[in-house]
Every structure is written in structure tokens, then in C-alpha cells.
């Protein structure tokens, strides 16, 4: 388990380097969502990210929300799916639905 291939070690490493960090986790899925429950994306204040919460269709939106969560410190539960009003922008091409929990990694 090295920081290079392990997301949660990466998160700790970024925090140690003085960066704000957020974690995004798939907590629920319906239909044919591309990544299983528990999949994670870690994001830092420079918008660098590692991991995935979808096949690439919602990562951009999740990173934007994560930057907001880093600022406010308030966690968020995001929902993405074809029925979403934002579907044209960040919907899942596969027709699945997914809930993503975004939280800030608190400073030491």
C-alpha cells in the first residue's frame, strides 16, 4: 500500500503538505452505474484528483462541489442521474443513478 496507488494515503499525504482535501464517496447506486458503492475520489484545493466515482461523466461536477465543501467545511450529499434537472450537463450516460457523499478532510 503506497501513496501512489492508495487514495486514502494520498489524501493524508496532501493534507500533510498543507493542502485542503475533500473525499467523495459513492454511497448509493441504482441501475447500471459504472462504479460500485464505496468507490472514492480524493480532491485537493488545486483541483487535483485521484480515483473515480463514475466512468468520468460526473467527476468534474464532484470536483467543483468538493472545492465548495473545502471552503465551507459542510459535507454534502449529491445526487446524479438521468432524471436530474442537470442531466444534460452532468448526467450519467449509462442511465444509472448515483448518490455521492462529499466531505472535507479536517485539518489536524
Amino acid at each position: 500500500m503506497t501513496p501512489d496507488d492508495d487514495l486514502l494515503m494520498k489524501a493524508a499525504q496532501w493534507a500533510d503538505a498543507g493542502k485542503h482535501v475533500a473525499l467523495a464517496t459513492v454511497v448509493q447506486t441504482w441501475g447500471s452505474s459504472p462504479r460500485p458503492v464505496g468507490s472514492q475520489l480524493v480532491i485537493n484545493e488545486d483541483s487535483d484528483f485521484e480515483g473515480s466515482v463514475s466512468g468520468g461523466c460526473i467527476e468534474g461536477a464532484v470536483v467543483t462541489e468538493a472545492l465548495d465543501v473545502m471552503q465551507s467545511g459542510e459535507s454534502k450529499l449529491l445526487e446524479f442521474g438521468v432524471s436530474d434537472a442537470m442531466a444534460w450537463e452532468v448526467g450519467l450516460a449509462c442511465g444509472g443513478e448515483v448518490k455521492v457523499f462529499v466531505e472535507k478532510l479536517e485539518d489536524r
Partner: protein, 235 residues
């Protein structure tokens, strides 16, 4: 997530402990569950959520739980990796190691006989050349470990089986015909194992799919290990 919780989580994962993070999705409060004990975090979770967390760990599946208190909690499972300990660097082990690795197992082939356990015969596989009793004591099979005794040699198989059967390993299999196994049962009984312990051995090893070649036997063994891990769906 609190930083102390992340550090404790990373430490528990490195130590291959049975770990889960429970998050209350309303406000992000969390707790860290390690080997059944709450080790970090400020969340006070209701009992049904902690039960659900243990069930999720058993199933090796992270999930969101709607608790009796009407709130949603997310259980993220961090189980130790699956391991397969193969006693005997034999032909079947050569076929089994890559199949098990593909199924997500860390494979360790144990054989003190140097000529058998050579790098050339097991490219990319961890080979342990200690005697099986020593190796099993050191590797300490846990609930995510399967053990296969494949040598046909009681001097090697039996000490490994004794340790595996007294460990929480979720699968213990031994190669050999019914007759070979009957003799083995006698020896293990003499060695002091109980009937219930001995009954845990899958023998003759592997699901009965008529396997003949080493590769086919390896498939039968991997299928049986998978069944022990996941349970049948009853379709």
C-alpha cells in the same frame, strides 16, 4: 472526516484489520470500527447501525443503511485482502495461483522443497520456503484466508491442516482421494483434532465438476473457495 480518524483508518488497513467507517449522511459525523470496537470518531450510532456494519463486513459490501431512527448511515467496508495459502508447490498450485490472483487473492505458495518452489515455476507468486507449520504460524490465517493442502505428503499437509483448522480461515481444502482422506482423518484424530474441526476440510478438494487436468482441478478448487466465501444464491 477527522484527520485522526483517517490516520487510524490508514493504520488499521496497513495492519489488515477488519475495519469499517460509519458516516451519518445528514451531518457527516463518523465512527471508525476496528475488529468490532469503536476506535475513533464522535458519532454515537444506534445498535441497529452497528449490527448492519458487522453484516456489511461479513458480506464485504459497503452500503447505505436506513436506521430505525429514520436517518441514513453509510457503512464503508475496509476488509483485509483475501489470501490463499497453497501448501505444496505442485502442478495444481501452478494452475491455481494465477486463477486465484485474478479473483483478487494474494497467493502465497508454501513449500520447503527448494526444487519445487522455484521462481521459474511460480513467476510473480510469493513463495514461502519455510516448513508449513512454521509458515502458517507466521502467516496466521484469518477470516479472509483460504488454505489448500496440495502436497499429498502427510509430513507437509498435516501440520498445515492442524493449524488451518484451528484458525478462522474460511476455507480449508485438502487434495487426495476418499481413501487418502480417510487415512488423513485417522491421523488428524490421533493428533487431537475434534470431529467438527476435521469436518471443515473440503476433501476430496474442489467442486465435483469432473475435473481431470491440473487446470480443471484448479477451477474446481477456486469455485469451491468462492462458494465458501460468498455462499450460494439458491437460484
Amino acid at each position: 472526516m477527522r484527520r485522526d480518524l483517517l490516520d487510524a483508518l490508514n493504520a488499521a488497513r496497513a495492519e489488515k484489520r477488519r475495519t469499517a467507517v460509519v458516516t451519518k449522511l445528514d451531518d457527516g459525523d463518523q465512527l471508525l470500527l476496528i475488529d468490532g470496537e469503536i476506535e475513533a470518531g464522535g458519532l454515537v450510532a444506534p445498535a441497529d447501525v452497528l449490527d448492519a456494519a458487522e453484516a456489511a463486513l461479513d458480506k464485504d459490501t459497503s452500503r447505505t443503511v436506513e436506521a430505525g431512527d429514520g436517518h441514513l448511515y453509510f457503512v464503508q467496508v475496509f476488509n483485509p485482502p483475501l489470501r490463499l495459502l497453497c501448501v505444496g508447490a505442485v502442478h495444481i498450485a501452478q494452475a491455481l495461483a494465477p486463477i486465484a490472483a485474478q479473483a483478487g487473492y494474494e497467493v502465497i505458495v508454501i513449500d520447503p522443497r527448494g526444487a519445487w518452489a522455484s521462481r521459474e515455476r511460480f513467476p510473480g507468486v510469493r513463495v514461502d520456503d519455510r516448513w508449513p507449520d512454521e509458515a502458517l504460524d507466521a502467516l496466521s490465517p484469518d477470516r479472509r484466508t483460504a488454505v489448500c493442502a496440495l502436497t499429498h505428503d502427510p509430513k507437509l499437509d498435516d501440520p498445515a491442516l492442524v493449524r488451518a483448522l484451528r484458525s478462522p480461515a474460511f476455507y480449508v481444502g485438502a487434495l487426495g482421494s476418499k481413501k487418502t482422506h480417510a487415512n488423513r482423518v485417522e491421523r488428524l484424530t490421533e493428533a487431537g483434532l475434534t470431529a467438527a474441526e476435521i469436518e471443515r476440510i473440503a476433501a476430496p478438494i474442489g467442486l465435483d465438476i469432473g475435473a481431470l487436468s491440473p487446470a480443471e482441478i484448479a477451477i474446481a478448487v477456486m469455485a469451491q473457495i468462492t462458494l465458501a466465501l460468498r455462499g450460494a444464491k439458491g437460484r
